[in-house]
Protein backbone atom coordinates (compact mmCIF):
# COMPACT_ATOMS: atom_id res chain seq x y z
CA UNK A 1 0.00 0.00 0.00
CA UNK A 2 1.19 3.48 -0.77
CA UNK A 3 -0.14 6.87 0.25
CA UNK A 4 1.82 8.54 -2.52
CA UNK A 5 0.22 8.98 -5.90
CA UNK A 6 1.81 7.41 -8.98
CA UNK A 7 4.35 9.29 -11.06
CA UNK A 8 1.75 9.73 -13.82
CA UNK A 9 -0.85 11.10 -11.43
CA UNK A 10 1.65 13.63 -10.11
CA UNK A 11 2.68 14.58 -13.65
CA UNK A 12 -1.00 15.04 -14.48
CA UNK A 13 -1.46 17.31 -11.47
CA UNK A 14 1.58 19.37 -12.46
CA UNK A 15 0.40 19.75 -16.06
CA UNK A 16 -3.15 20.71 -15.04
CA UNK A 17 -1.85 23.13 -12.41
CA UNK A 18 0.19 24.84 -15.11
CA UNK A 19 -2.82 25.12 -17.38
CA UNK A 20 -4.90 26.40 -14.45
CA UNK A 21 -2.28 29.03 -13.67
CA UNK A 22 -2.53 30.36 -17.21
CA UNK A 23 -6.21 31.17 -16.54
CA UNK A 24 -6.34 31.66 -12.76
CA UNK A 25 -8.80 33.29 -10.38
CA UNK A 26 -9.02 36.53 -12.30
CA UNK A 27 -10.21 34.77 -15.44
CA UNK A 28 -12.78 32.75 -13.52
CA UNK A 29 -14.15 35.70 -11.54
CA UNK A 30 -14.29 37.93 -14.60
CA UNK A 31 -16.35 35.28 -16.42
CA UNK A 32 -18.64 34.80 -13.44
CA UNK A 33 -19.25 38.50 -12.91
CA UNK A 34 -19.89 39.25 -16.57
CA UNK A 35 -22.32 36.37 -17.01
CA UNK A 36 -20.02 34.44 -19.32
CA UNK A 37 -18.78 30.84 -19.27
CA UNK A 38 -15.27 29.48 -18.87
CA UNK A 39 -15.43 28.21 -22.46
CA UNK A 40 -11.76 28.78 -23.35
CA UNK A 41 -10.51 26.84 -20.34
CA UNK A 42 -13.05 24.07 -20.83
CA UNK A 43 -12.12 23.72 -24.50
CA UNK A 44 -8.38 23.71 -23.87
CA UNK A 45 -8.63 21.23 -21.00
CA UNK A 46 -10.84 19.11 -23.25
CA UNK A 47 -8.38 19.14 -26.15
CA UNK A 48 -5.60 18.03 -23.80
CA UNK A 49 -7.74 15.10 -22.70
CA UNK A 50 -7.97 16.34 -19.10
CA UNK A 51 -11.80 16.30 -19.07
CA UNK A 52 -11.95 12.80 -20.49
CA UNK A 53 -9.24 11.08 -18.46
CA UNK A 54 -11.82 8.62 -17.11
CA UNK A 55 -13.48 7.80 -20.44
CA UNK A 56 -12.47 4.34 -21.73
CA UNK A 57 -9.66 4.39 -24.29
CA UNK A 58 -11.70 2.62 -26.97
CA UNK A 59 -13.94 5.71 -27.08
CA UNK A 60 -11.04 8.13 -27.33
CA UNK A 61 -10.71 8.80 -23.63
CA UNK A 62 -7.71 8.57 -21.36
CA UNK A 63 -8.55 5.16 -19.94
CA UNK A 64 -7.81 6.39 -16.42
CA UNK A 65 -10.10 6.49 -13.42
CA UNK A 66 -12.14 8.82 -11.31
CA UNK A 67 -8.99 9.41 -9.26
CA UNK A 68 -7.42 11.02 -12.33
CA UNK A 69 -10.51 13.13 -13.02
CA UNK A 70 -10.60 14.21 -9.39
CA UNK A 71 -6.95 15.26 -9.63
CA UNK A 72 -7.80 17.42 -12.65
CA UNK A 73 -10.76 18.98 -10.84
CA UNK A 74 -8.76 19.66 -7.68
CA UNK A 75 -5.82 21.25 -9.51
CA UNK A 76 -8.04 23.55 -11.56
CA UNK A 77 -9.92 24.56 -8.41
CA UNK A 78 -6.65 25.17 -6.58
CA UNK A 79 -5.62 27.43 -9.47
CA UNK A 80 -8.80 29.44 -8.95
CA UNK A 81 -10.99 27.75 -11.56
CA UNK A 82 -13.40 25.30 -9.90
CA UNK A 83 -15.32 23.85 -12.86
CA UNK A 84 -18.64 22.76 -11.38
CA UNK A 85 -19.69 20.99 -14.55
CA UNK A 86 -16.76 18.59 -14.22
CA UNK A 87 -18.61 17.14 -11.26
CA UNK A 88 -21.63 16.52 -13.44
CA UNK A 89 -20.72 15.99 -17.07
CA UNK A 90 -17.68 13.71 -17.18
CA UNK A 91 -18.02 12.32 -13.65
CA UNK A 92 -21.71 11.43 -13.36
CA UNK A 93 -23.04 11.36 -16.91
CA UNK A 94 -20.05 9.85 -18.75
CA UNK A 95 -19.65 7.23 -16.01
CA UNK A 96 -23.30 6.18 -16.14
CA UNK A 97 -23.29 5.99 -19.94
CA UNK A 98 -20.00 4.06 -19.97
CA UNK A 99 -21.31 1.62 -17.37
CA UNK A 100 -24.98 1.20 -18.28
CA UNK A 101 -25.40 2.64 -21.78
CA UNK A 102 -26.01 0.64 -24.93
CA UNK A 103 -23.23 0.32 -27.47
CA UNK A 104 -25.02 2.93 -29.59
CA UNK A 105 -25.22 5.39 -26.69
CA UNK A 106 -21.57 4.89 -25.87
CA UNK A 107 -20.48 5.47 -29.45
CA UNK A 108 -22.68 8.53 -29.68
CA UNK A 109 -21.65 10.25 -26.45
CA UNK A 110 -18.37 8.98 -25.06
CA UNK A 111 -15.97 10.28 -27.75
CA UNK A 112 -17.37 13.76 -27.10
CA UNK A 113 -17.03 13.40 -23.34
CA UNK A 114 -13.45 12.33 -24.04
CA UNK A 115 -12.53 15.69 -25.59
CA UNK A 116 -15.02 17.81 -23.65
CA UNK A 117 -16.90 18.82 -26.80
CA UNK A 118 -20.18 17.79 -25.20
CA UNK A 119 -21.61 18.82 -21.84
CA UNK A 120 -24.40 16.97 -20.09
CA UNK A 121 -26.19 18.26 -16.99
CA UNK A 122 -27.67 15.93 -14.40
CA UNK A 123 -31.11 16.33 -12.82
CA UNK A 124 -32.31 14.45 -9.79
CA UNK A 125 -33.40 17.14 -7.28
CA UNK A 126 -37.09 18.03 -7.25
CA UNK A 127 -38.88 20.82 -5.37
CA UNK A 128 -40.91 18.36 -3.27
CA UNK A 129 -38.33 15.60 -2.99
CA UNK A 130 -34.99 17.29 -2.21
CA UNK A 131 -32.82 15.06 -0.06
CA UNK A 132 -35.43 12.32 -0.30
CA UNK A 133 -34.92 11.03 -3.82
CA UNK A 134 -37.48 8.29 -3.18
CA UNK A 135 -40.20 10.90 -3.48
CA UNK A 136 -39.39 12.09 -6.97
CA UNK A 137 -42.40 12.28 -9.26
CA UNK A 138 -40.89 12.96 -12.68
CA UNK A 139 -42.55 10.21 -14.66
CA UNK A 140 -41.88 8.40 -17.92
CA UNK A 141 -44.85 6.97 -19.83
CA UNK A 142 -44.40 4.48 -22.63
CA UNK A 143 -45.71 5.83 -25.91
CA UNK A 144 -45.57 3.56 -28.93
CA UNK A 145 -41.88 2.74 -29.25
CA UNK A 146 -40.76 5.79 -27.32
CA UNK A 147 -41.31 7.66 -24.06
CA UNK A 148 -43.12 10.72 -22.80
CA UNK A 149 -41.52 12.49 -19.85
CA UNK A 150 -43.24 14.89 -17.44
CA UNK A 151 -42.17 16.55 -14.25
CA UNK A 152 -40.15 19.28 -12.64
CA UNK A 153 -36.59 19.53 -11.36
CA UNK A 154 -34.82 22.28 -9.47
CA UNK A 155 -31.29 23.56 -8.83
CA UNK A 156 -30.01 21.87 -11.98
CA UNK A 157 -26.57 23.23 -12.82
CA UNK A 158 -25.43 24.23 -16.28
CA UNK A 159 -28.59 23.54 -18.30
CA UNK A 160 -27.96 26.71 -20.35
CA UNK A 161 -24.58 25.45 -21.54
CA UNK A 162 -25.39 21.74 -21.78
CA UNK A 163 -26.22 19.82 -24.93
CA UNK A 164 -28.45 17.46 -22.99
CA UNK A 165 -29.60 16.68 -19.46
CA UNK A 166 -29.61 13.26 -17.84
CA UNK A 167 -32.91 13.06 -15.95
CA UNK A 168 -33.68 10.71 -13.09
CA UNK A 169 -37.31 9.61 -13.37
CA UNK A 170 -39.56 6.72 -12.51
CA UNK A 171 -41.71 4.73 -14.93
CA UNK A 172 -45.46 5.18 -14.65
CA UNK A 173 -46.30 1.84 -13.03
CA UNK A 174 -43.69 2.31 -10.31
CA UNK A 175 -44.85 3.33 -6.86
CA UNK A 176 -43.12 3.57 -3.50
CA UNK A 177 -39.38 3.31 -3.22
CA UNK A 178 -37.52 4.60 -6.21
CA UNK A 179 -36.26 2.30 -8.89
CA UNK A 180 -34.84 5.05 -11.00
CA UNK A 181 -34.79 5.15 -14.74
CA UNK A 182 -32.44 7.53 -16.50
CA UNK A 183 -33.23 9.51 -19.64
CA UNK A 184 -31.06 11.67 -21.86
CA UNK A 185 -33.06 14.72 -22.92
CA UNK A 186 -31.56 17.16 -25.44
CA UNK A 187 -31.83 20.72 -24.13
CA UNK A 188 -33.69 21.72 -27.29
CA UNK A 189 -36.39 19.03 -26.91
CA UNK A 190 -39.96 20.24 -27.38
CA UNK A 191 -41.74 20.72 -24.06
CA UNK A 192 -38.48 21.10 -22.10
CA UNK A 193 -38.04 24.58 -20.62
CA UNK A 194 -35.60 25.89 -18.05
CA UNK A 195 -35.67 29.03 -15.90
CA UNK A 196 -32.64 30.42 -14.07
CA UNK A 197 -32.65 30.70 -10.28
CA UNK A 198 -30.96 33.78 -8.82
CA UNK A 199 -28.16 32.50 -6.58
CA UNK A 200 -25.75 34.21 -4.17
CA UNK A 201 -22.72 32.32 -5.44
CA UNK A 202 -19.97 33.79 -7.62
CA UNK A 203 -19.81 31.17 -10.34
CA UNK A 204 -20.05 31.09 -14.14
CA UNK A 205 -22.32 28.03 -13.86
CA UNK A 206 -25.97 28.80 -13.17
CA UNK A 207 -28.78 26.75 -11.62
CA UNK A 208 -32.17 26.19 -13.24
CA UNK A 209 -35.70 24.98 -12.66
CA UNK A 210 -36.51 22.49 -15.40
CA UNK A 211 -40.03 21.79 -16.64
CA UNK A 212 -40.76 18.69 -18.64
CA UNK A 213 -44.14 19.05 -20.26
CA UNK A 214 -44.92 15.82 -22.11
CA UNK A 215 -41.49 15.66 -23.70
CA UNK A 216 -41.44 12.93 -26.37
CA UNK A 217 -38.30 10.89 -26.52
CA UNK A 218 -37.13 8.01 -28.69
CA UNK A 219 -36.77 4.62 -27.04
CA UNK A 220 -33.00 4.92 -26.85
CA UNK A 221 -33.20 8.03 -24.66
CA UNK A 222 -33.36 5.53 -21.82
CA UNK A 223 -29.96 4.66 -20.31
CA UNK A 224 -29.74 1.22 -18.72
CA UNK A 225 -32.74 -0.77 -17.54
CA UNK A 226 -36.06 0.98 -17.20
CA UNK A 227 -36.22 0.21 -13.53
CA UNK A 228 -32.61 -0.74 -13.15
CA UNK A 229 -32.54 -0.12 -9.44
CA UNK A 230 -30.36 2.19 -7.47
CA UNK A 231 -27.10 0.55 -8.43
CA UNK A 232 -26.85 2.06 -11.91
CA UNK A 233 -27.60 5.47 -10.42
CA UNK A 234 -25.04 5.05 -7.65
CA UNK A 235 -22.46 4.18 -10.28
CA UNK A 236 -22.64 7.90 -11.07
CA UNK A 237 -23.22 9.29 -7.59
CA UNK A 238 -20.07 7.96 -5.98
CA UNK A 239 -17.98 9.77 -8.60
CA UNK A 240 -20.08 12.87 -7.96
CA UNK A 241 -19.16 12.80 -4.28
CA UNK A 242 -15.51 12.11 -4.99
CA UNK A 243 -15.44 15.03 -7.42
CA UNK A 244 -17.25 17.37 -5.03
CA UNK A 245 -14.64 16.43 -2.46
CA UNK A 246 -11.81 17.13 -4.92
CA UNK A 247 -13.28 20.50 -5.82
CA UNK A 248 -13.57 21.39 -2.14
CA UNK A 249 -9.99 20.33 -1.57
CA UNK A 250 -8.85 22.56 -4.42
CA UNK A 251 -10.74 25.58 -3.12
CA UNK A 252 -9.42 24.90 0.38
CA UNK A 253 -5.86 24.90 -0.97
CA UNK A 254 -6.51 28.09 -2.89
CA UNK A 255 -7.84 29.89 0.19
CA UNK A 256 -5.09 28.58 2.43
CA UNK A 257 -2.43 29.60 -0.09
CA UNK A 258 -3.78 33.13 -0.25
CA UNK A 259 -3.96 33.31 3.54
CA UNK A 260 -0.37 32.12 3.98
CA UNK A 261 0.98 34.59 1.41
CA UNK A 262 -0.87 37.40 3.10
CA UNK A 263 0.16 36.37 6.63
CA UNK A 264 3.83 36.36 5.64
CA UNK A 265 3.60 39.80 4.15
CA UNK A 266 1.20 41.82 6.26
CA UNK A 267 2.73 43.47 9.30
CA UNK A 268 0.92 45.72 11.77
CA UNK A 269 2.91 45.10 14.96
CA UNK A 270 6.56 44.05 15.23
CA UNK A 271 6.31 40.84 13.22
CA UNK A 272 4.31 39.71 10.17
CA UNK A 273 0.83 38.65 11.31
CA UNK A 274 1.67 35.02 10.44
CA UNK A 275 4.05 34.99 13.41
CA UNK A 276 1.13 35.44 15.82
CA UNK A 277 -0.11 32.06 16.92
CA UNK A 278 -3.65 33.38 16.91
CA UNK A 279 -3.26 33.63 13.14
CA UNK A 280 -0.91 30.71 12.52
CA UNK A 281 -2.57 27.95 14.53
CA UNK A 282 -6.01 28.11 12.93
CA UNK A 283 -4.31 28.01 9.52
CA UNK A 284 -2.25 25.00 10.61
CA UNK A 285 -5.38 23.28 11.92
CA UNK A 286 -7.21 23.96 8.65
CA UNK A 287 -4.24 22.51 6.76
CA UNK A 288 -4.42 19.31 8.83
CA UNK A 289 -8.16 18.95 8.27
CA UNK A 290 -7.70 19.53 4.57
CA UNK A 291 -4.96 16.95 4.16
CA UNK A 292 -6.97 14.34 6.08
CA UNK A 293 -9.99 15.02 3.92
CA UNK A 294 -7.94 14.80 0.71
CA UNK A 295 -6.59 11.47 1.81
CA UNK A 296 -10.11 10.12 2.29
CA UNK A 297 -11.03 11.43 -1.16
CA UNK A 298 -8.07 9.58 -2.65
CA UNK A 299 -9.07 6.42 -0.82
CA UNK A 300 -12.61 6.69 -2.14
CA UNK A 301 -11.34 7.13 -5.69
CA UNK A 302 -8.94 4.24 -5.27
CA UNK A 303 -11.71 1.93 -4.03
CA UNK A 304 -14.06 3.05 -6.77
CA UNK A 305 -11.47 2.62 -9.53
CA UNK A 306 -10.70 -0.81 -8.10
CA UNK A 307 -14.34 -1.81 -8.61
CA UNK A 308 -15.44 -1.78 -4.97
CA UNK A 309 -18.64 0.29 -5.26
CA UNK A 310 -19.87 -0.50 -1.76
CA UNK A 311 -16.58 0.31 -0.06
CA UNK A 312 -16.26 3.42 -2.20
CA UNK A 313 -19.70 4.59 -1.09
CA UNK A 314 -18.78 4.96 2.55
CA UNK A 315 -15.41 6.55 1.79
CA UNK A 316 -16.90 8.90 -0.81
CA UNK A 317 -19.53 10.12 1.65
CA UNK A 318 -16.96 10.61 4.37
CA UNK A 319 -14.63 12.42 1.97
CA UNK A 320 -17.42 14.68 0.76
CA UNK A 321 -18.35 15.55 4.35
CA UNK A 322 -14.80 16.08 5.54
CA UNK A 323 -13.67 18.15 2.56
CA UNK A 324 -16.68 20.42 2.74
CA UNK A 325 -16.00 21.08 6.43
CA UNK A 326 -12.26 21.55 5.83
CA UNK A 327 -12.81 23.87 2.87
CA UNK A 328 -15.26 25.97 4.89
CA UNK A 329 -12.70 26.28 7.68
CA UNK A 330 -9.92 27.15 5.22
CA UNK A 331 -11.97 29.89 3.59
CA UNK A 332 -13.26 31.23 6.89
CA UNK A 333 -9.77 31.43 8.33
CA UNK A 334 -8.42 32.92 5.09
CA UNK A 335 -11.01 35.68 5.36
CA UNK A 336 -10.10 36.26 9.01
CA UNK A 337 -6.39 36.36 8.16
CA UNK A 338 -7.00 39.02 5.53
CA UNK A 339 -8.89 41.28 7.94
CA UNK A 340 -10.93 43.82 5.98
CA UNK A 341 -9.25 42.72 2.79
CA UNK A 342 -10.88 39.32 3.32
CA UNK A 343 -14.14 40.80 2.15
CA UNK A 344 -12.83 42.95 -0.69
CA UNK A 345 -13.39 41.97 -4.27
CA UNK A 346 -9.70 42.53 -5.02
CA UNK A 347 -8.34 39.76 -2.79
CA UNK A 348 -10.78 37.14 -4.06
CA UNK A 349 -11.18 35.38 -0.72
CA UNK A 350 -14.60 36.55 0.45
CA UNK A 351 -16.25 35.37 -2.73
CA UNK A 352 -15.16 31.80 -1.98
CA UNK A 353 -17.41 31.72 1.08
CA UNK A 354 -20.57 31.07 -0.92
CA UNK A 355 -18.97 28.31 -2.98
CA UNK A 356 -17.61 26.33 -0.03
CA UNK A 357 -20.78 26.87 1.97
CA UNK A 358 -22.63 25.25 -0.92
CA UNK A 359 -20.51 22.16 -0.42
CA UNK A 360 -22.12 21.50 2.92
CA UNK A 361 -25.48 21.30 1.10
CA UNK A 362 -24.89 19.83 -2.35
CA UNK A 363 -24.69 17.35 -3.96
CA UNK A 364 -25.72 15.65 -0.73
CA UNK A 365 -26.13 17.53 2.53
CA UNK A 366 -24.01 17.18 5.63
CA UNK A 367 -26.99 15.77 7.53
CA UNK A 368 -27.75 13.11 4.94
CA UNK A 369 -24.12 11.95 5.10
CA UNK A 370 -24.29 11.81 8.89
CA UNK A 371 -27.51 9.80 8.51
CA UNK A 372 -25.71 7.42 6.17
CA UNK A 373 -22.74 6.97 8.47
CA UNK A 374 -24.95 6.61 11.57
CA UNK A 375 -27.03 3.96 9.90
CA UNK A 376 -24.59 2.07 7.69
CA UNK A 377 -21.22 2.52 9.37
CA UNK A 378 -22.42 2.52 12.97
CA UNK A 379 -25.59 0.44 12.67
CA UNK A 380 -27.77 2.98 14.50
CA UNK A 381 -31.53 2.97 13.93
CA UNK A 382 -33.00 5.15 11.20
CA UNK A 383 -35.23 8.11 12.09
CA UNK A 384 -36.78 8.85 8.72
Amino acid sequence: MSFIETEERRALRAAVAELGAKYGSSYYVEKARSGQKTDELWAEAGRLGYLGVNVPEEYGGGGGGIGDLAAVCEELAAAGCPLLLMVVSPAICATIIARSGTEGQREHWLPRFADGSVKMAFAITEPDAGSNAHRITTTARRDGDGWVLSGQKTFISGVDEADAVLFVARTEDQKGNLRPSLFIVPTGAEGFTHTPIDMEIVSPEKQFICHLDDVRLPYDALVGDEDGGLLQLFAGLNPERIMASAMGAGIGRLALGKAVDYAKDRQVFKAPIGAHQGVAHPLAAAKIELELARLMGQKAAWLYDGGDDMGAGEAANMAKYATAEAAIHCVDQAIQTHGGNGLTTEYGVGMLAGVVRLMRIAPVSREMILNFVAQHSLGLPKSY
Binding site: A11, L12, A14, Y50
Partner: protein
Protein backbone atom coordinates in the same frame (compact mmCIF):
# COMPACT_ATOMS: atom_id res chain seq x y z
CA UNK B 1 15.15 14.26 -39.50
CA UNK B 2 17.12 13.55 -36.35
CA UNK B 3 16.21 16.38 -33.98
CA UNK B 4 17.98 16.66 -30.65
CA UNK B 5 16.66 19.11 -28.09
CA UNK B 6 18.78 20.09 -25.11
CA UNK B 7 16.85 20.28 -21.87
CA UNK B 8 18.35 21.55 -18.65
CA UNK B 9 16.69 21.08 -15.30
CA UNK B 10 16.90 24.27 -13.25
CA UNK B 11 15.58 25.28 -9.82
CA UNK B 12 12.04 26.65 -10.04
CA UNK B 13 12.34 30.42 -10.40
CA UNK B 14 9.35 30.69 -8.06
CA UNK B 15 11.28 29.18 -5.15
CA UNK B 16 14.26 30.77 -3.39
CA UNK B 17 17.53 29.76 -5.09
CA UNK B 18 20.80 29.40 -3.20
CA UNK B 19 24.43 28.58 -3.80
CA UNK B 20 26.06 26.11 -1.41
CA UNK B 21 28.56 27.64 0.97
CA UNK B 22 31.07 24.75 0.71
CA UNK B 23 31.74 24.58 -3.04
CA UNK B 24 29.84 27.58 -4.41
CA UNK B 25 27.71 25.41 -6.67
CA UNK B 26 23.97 25.63 -6.97
CA UNK B 27 22.00 23.94 -4.19
CA UNK B 28 19.83 21.84 -6.49
CA UNK B 29 18.29 19.88 -3.65
CA UNK B 30 16.92 23.04 -2.01
CA UNK B 31 14.41 23.88 -4.73
CA UNK B 32 12.01 22.03 -6.99
CA UNK B 33 13.59 21.22 -10.32
CA UNK B 34 11.74 22.33 -13.44
CA UNK B 35 12.56 22.46 -17.15
CA UNK B 36 14.48 25.62 -17.96
CA UNK B 37 11.70 27.82 -19.32
CA UNK B 38 13.27 28.54 -22.70
CA UNK B 39 13.88 24.83 -23.21
CA UNK B 40 10.11 24.31 -23.29
CA UNK B 41 10.10 26.54 -26.37
CA UNK B 42 12.97 24.50 -27.78
CA UNK B 43 10.96 21.31 -27.22
CA UNK B 44 7.91 22.84 -28.86
CA UNK B 45 9.95 23.91 -31.88
CA UNK B 46 11.48 20.47 -32.16
CA UNK B 47 8.01 18.89 -32.11
CA UNK B 48 6.78 21.34 -34.74
CA UNK B 49 9.69 20.52 -37.01
CA UNK B 50 9.01 16.83 -36.56
CA UNK B 51 5.31 17.32 -37.28
CA UNK B 52 6.11 19.20 -40.47
CA UNK B 53 9.06 17.17 -41.75
CA UNK B 54 8.92 13.82 -40.00
CA UNK B 55 11.73 12.28 -37.99
CA UNK B 56 12.39 11.79 -34.36
CA UNK B 57 12.88 14.08 -31.36
CA UNK B 58 15.48 13.09 -28.78
CA UNK B 59 15.79 14.91 -25.47
CA UNK B 60 19.34 15.30 -24.21
CA UNK B 61 19.83 16.27 -20.58
CA UNK B 62 22.96 16.52 -18.50
CA UNK B 63 22.11 16.64 -14.83
CA UNK B 64 21.60 14.72 -11.61
CA UNK B 65 19.23 11.76 -11.21
CA UNK B 66 16.31 13.94 -10.23
CA UNK B 67 16.41 15.55 -13.68
CA UNK B 68 14.36 12.53 -14.84
CA UNK B 69 11.22 14.46 -13.81
CA UNK B 70 12.04 17.07 -16.43
CA UNK B 71 12.88 14.41 -19.00
CA UNK B 72 9.48 12.77 -18.40
CA UNK B 73 7.74 16.05 -18.94
CA UNK B 74 9.56 16.60 -22.25
CA UNK B 75 8.54 13.09 -23.29
CA UNK B 76 4.95 13.77 -22.17
CA UNK B 77 4.93 16.85 -24.39
CA UNK B 78 5.68 14.52 -27.30
CA UNK B 79 9.43 13.87 -27.65
CA UNK B 80 10.17 10.30 -28.69
CA UNK B 81 13.08 9.32 -26.50
CA UNK B 82 15.73 10.70 -24.21
CA UNK B 83 19.38 10.48 -23.32
CA UNK B 84 20.26 11.34 -19.75
CA UNK B 85 23.89 12.14 -19.11
CA UNK B 86 24.35 11.56 -15.41
CA UNK B 87 27.56 11.03 -13.48
CA UNK B 88 28.93 12.42 -10.22
CA UNK B 89 32.05 13.28 -12.17
CA UNK B 90 30.08 15.92 -14.06
CA UNK B 91 28.99 17.85 -10.98
CA UNK B 92 30.16 21.44 -10.94
CA UNK B 93 31.12 21.51 -14.62
CA UNK B 94 31.37 24.96 -16.15
CA UNK B 95 30.08 26.01 -19.53
CA UNK B 96 33.20 24.94 -21.39
CA UNK B 97 33.04 21.46 -19.86
CA UNK B 98 29.29 21.19 -20.28
CA UNK B 99 29.63 21.92 -23.99
CA UNK B 100 32.31 19.24 -24.23
CA UNK B 101 30.20 16.65 -22.42
CA UNK B 102 27.15 17.43 -24.54
CA UNK B 103 29.26 17.23 -27.69
CA UNK B 104 30.35 13.74 -26.68
CA UNK B 105 26.78 12.67 -26.01
CA UNK B 106 25.71 14.08 -29.37
CA UNK B 107 28.30 11.80 -30.87
CA UNK B 108 26.13 8.91 -29.69
CA UNK B 109 22.77 10.31 -30.78
CA UNK B 110 23.88 11.92 -34.04
CA UNK B 111 21.82 14.92 -35.18
CA UNK B 112 20.57 16.95 -38.12
CA UNK B 113 19.57 19.78 -35.88
CA UNK B 114 20.27 20.59 -32.24
CA UNK B 115 17.76 22.93 -30.64
CA UNK B 116 18.32 24.57 -27.27
CA UNK B 117 17.19 27.51 -25.20
CA UNK B 118 19.20 30.67 -25.68
CA UNK B 119 19.82 31.00 -21.94
CA UNK B 120 19.21 29.10 -18.73
CA UNK B 121 17.52 30.75 -15.75
CA UNK B 122 20.09 29.53 -13.22
CA UNK B 123 23.55 30.12 -14.69
CA UNK B 124 22.46 32.39 -17.56
CA UNK B 125 25.77 32.32 -19.38
CA UNK B 126 23.97 32.05 -22.71
CA UNK B 127 27.09 30.65 -24.32
CA UNK B 128 26.23 27.03 -24.83
CA UNK B 129 24.97 27.36 -28.40
CA UNK B 130 28.12 29.13 -29.49
CA UNK B 131 30.46 26.71 -27.72
CA UNK B 132 28.63 23.69 -29.09
CA UNK B 133 28.63 24.85 -32.68
CA UNK B 134 32.34 25.59 -32.42
CA UNK B 135 33.05 22.15 -31.01
CA UNK B 136 30.81 20.40 -33.52
CA UNK B 137 32.01 22.46 -36.47
CA UNK B 138 28.47 23.27 -37.60
CA UNK B 139 26.70 26.62 -38.12
CA UNK B 140 24.99 28.29 -35.17
CA UNK B 141 21.76 30.22 -35.38
CA UNK B 142 21.16 31.94 -32.06
CA UNK B 143 18.22 33.85 -30.55
CA UNK B 144 15.85 32.52 -33.19
CA UNK B 145 12.23 33.63 -33.05
CA UNK B 146 11.28 31.91 -36.30
CA UNK B 147 12.68 28.81 -37.93
CA UNK B 148 11.89 27.28 -41.28
CA UNK B 149 13.39 24.19 -42.82
CA UNK B 150 13.58 23.71 -46.54
CA UNK B 151 15.38 20.58 -47.61
CA UNK B 152 18.85 20.84 -46.15
CA UNK B 153 18.56 24.62 -45.69
CA UNK B 154 17.49 26.21 -42.45
CA UNK B 155 16.19 29.78 -42.50
CA UNK B 156 15.66 31.72 -39.34
CA UNK B 157 14.89 35.09 -37.91
CA UNK B 158 17.14 36.08 -35.04
CA UNK B 159 16.22 38.78 -32.57
CA UNK B 160 18.53 41.78 -32.33
CA UNK B 161 18.43 45.12 -30.54
CA UNK B 162 17.22 46.83 -33.69
CA UNK B 163 14.68 44.23 -34.88
CA UNK B 164 15.74 40.97 -36.42
CA UNK B 165 18.20 39.44 -38.84
CA UNK B 166 17.27 36.90 -41.46
CA UNK B 167 19.89 34.20 -41.56
CA UNK B 168 20.27 30.99 -43.48
CA UNK B 169 22.48 27.96 -42.98
CA UNK B 170 22.84 24.38 -44.11
CA UNK B 171 22.02 21.46 -41.87
CA UNK B 172 23.33 20.07 -39.60
CA UNK B 173 23.16 23.12 -37.37
CA UNK B 174 22.71 24.34 -33.80
CA UNK B 175 19.73 26.61 -33.13
CA UNK B 176 18.98 28.47 -29.92
CA UNK B 177 15.52 29.91 -29.45
CA UNK B 178 13.81 32.79 -27.63
CA UNK B 179 10.33 32.76 -26.15
CA UNK B 180 8.77 34.65 -29.03
CA UNK B 181 9.20 31.63 -31.28
CA UNK B 182 6.08 29.69 -30.27
CA UNK B 183 3.76 28.76 -27.43
CA UNK B 184 4.84 25.52 -25.76
CA UNK B 185 2.10 22.92 -25.49
CA UNK B 186 0.91 21.39 -22.24
CA UNK B 187 1.40 17.65 -21.98
CA UNK B 188 -1.87 15.89 -22.82
CA UNK B 189 -3.17 13.11 -20.57
CA UNK B 190 -2.28 10.55 -23.23
CA UNK B 191 1.17 12.09 -23.53
CA UNK B 192 1.65 11.77 -19.79
CA UNK B 193 0.58 8.13 -19.80
CA UNK B 194 2.77 7.33 -22.81
CA UNK B 195 5.86 9.07 -21.41
CA UNK B 196 6.67 6.32 -18.95
CA UNK B 197 6.96 3.78 -21.75
CA UNK B 198 9.34 5.85 -23.86
CA UNK B 199 13.01 4.88 -23.82
CA UNK B 200 15.40 6.87 -21.64
CA UNK B 201 19.03 5.93 -22.08
CA UNK B 202 21.26 6.76 -19.13
CA UNK B 203 24.89 7.50 -19.95
CA UNK B 204 27.82 7.75 -17.57
CA UNK B 205 31.15 9.34 -18.43
CA UNK B 206 32.52 6.12 -19.89
CA UNK B 207 29.42 5.38 -22.00
CA UNK B 208 29.59 8.78 -23.61
CA UNK B 209 33.35 8.67 -24.13
CA UNK B 210 33.90 11.62 -21.82
CA UNK B 211 37.37 12.07 -20.38
CA UNK B 212 36.93 12.40 -16.60
CA UNK B 213 39.91 14.73 -16.39
CA UNK B 214 38.11 17.28 -18.55
CA UNK B 215 34.91 17.67 -16.53
CA UNK B 216 33.75 18.41 -12.99
CA UNK B 217 34.30 21.15 -10.46
CA UNK B 218 37.96 20.33 -9.82
CA UNK B 219 38.87 20.63 -13.50
CA UNK B 220 36.74 23.64 -14.36
CA UNK B 221 38.34 26.53 -16.23
CA UNK B 222 36.24 29.00 -14.30
CA UNK B 223 35.83 29.24 -10.57
CA UNK B 224 33.19 30.98 -8.47
CA UNK B 225 35.34 33.01 -6.08
CA UNK B 226 32.69 34.76 -4.09
CA UNK B 227 28.96 35.36 -4.10
CA UNK B 228 26.40 37.40 -2.23
CA UNK B 229 22.65 37.41 -1.88
CA UNK B 230 20.86 39.53 -4.42
CA UNK B 231 20.07 42.95 -2.91
CA UNK B 232 16.47 43.44 -1.80
CA UNK B 233 14.36 44.87 -4.55
CA UNK B 234 14.84 48.63 -4.55
CA UNK B 235 11.97 51.06 -4.32
CA UNK B 236 10.48 51.68 -7.77
CA UNK B 237 11.11 54.95 -9.52
CA UNK B 238 8.15 57.31 -9.50
CA UNK B 239 7.66 59.41 -12.60
CA UNK B 240 5.66 62.56 -11.90
CA UNK B 241 3.66 63.55 -14.92
CA UNK B 242 4.50 67.11 -15.89
CA UNK B 243 3.14 66.73 -19.35
CA UNK B 244 6.02 64.49 -20.39
CA UNK B 245 5.18 61.42 -18.24
CA UNK B 246 4.53 59.20 -21.25
CA UNK B 247 7.81 60.12 -22.87
CA UNK B 248 9.72 59.50 -19.64
CA UNK B 249 8.20 56.07 -19.23
CA UNK B 250 8.98 55.21 -22.83
CA UNK B 251 12.55 56.39 -22.28
CA UNK B 252 12.86 54.20 -19.18
CA UNK B 253 11.50 51.15 -20.99
CA UNK B 254 13.82 51.76 -23.92
CA UNK B 255 16.83 52.05 -21.61
CA UNK B 256 15.96 48.61 -20.23
CA UNK B 257 15.38 47.32 -23.77
CA UNK B 258 11.73 46.51 -23.09
CA UNK B 259 10.68 48.50 -26.16
Amino acid sequence: MNIVVLVKQVPDTESPRKLKSDDSTLDRAAADGVINELDEYAIEEALKIKEAHGGEVTVLTMGPAKATDSIRKALAMGADKAVHLVDDGLAGSDALQTSYAIQQALGRTGFDIVILGSESTDARTGVLAAMLSERLGVPQITLANKVEIDGSAIKAQRVTDYGYDRVEATLPAVVSVVEKINEPRYPSFKGIMAAKKKPVETLGLGDAGIDAAQVGLANAATEVVDFADAPARAQGQIVTDEGDGGAKIAEFLASKKFV
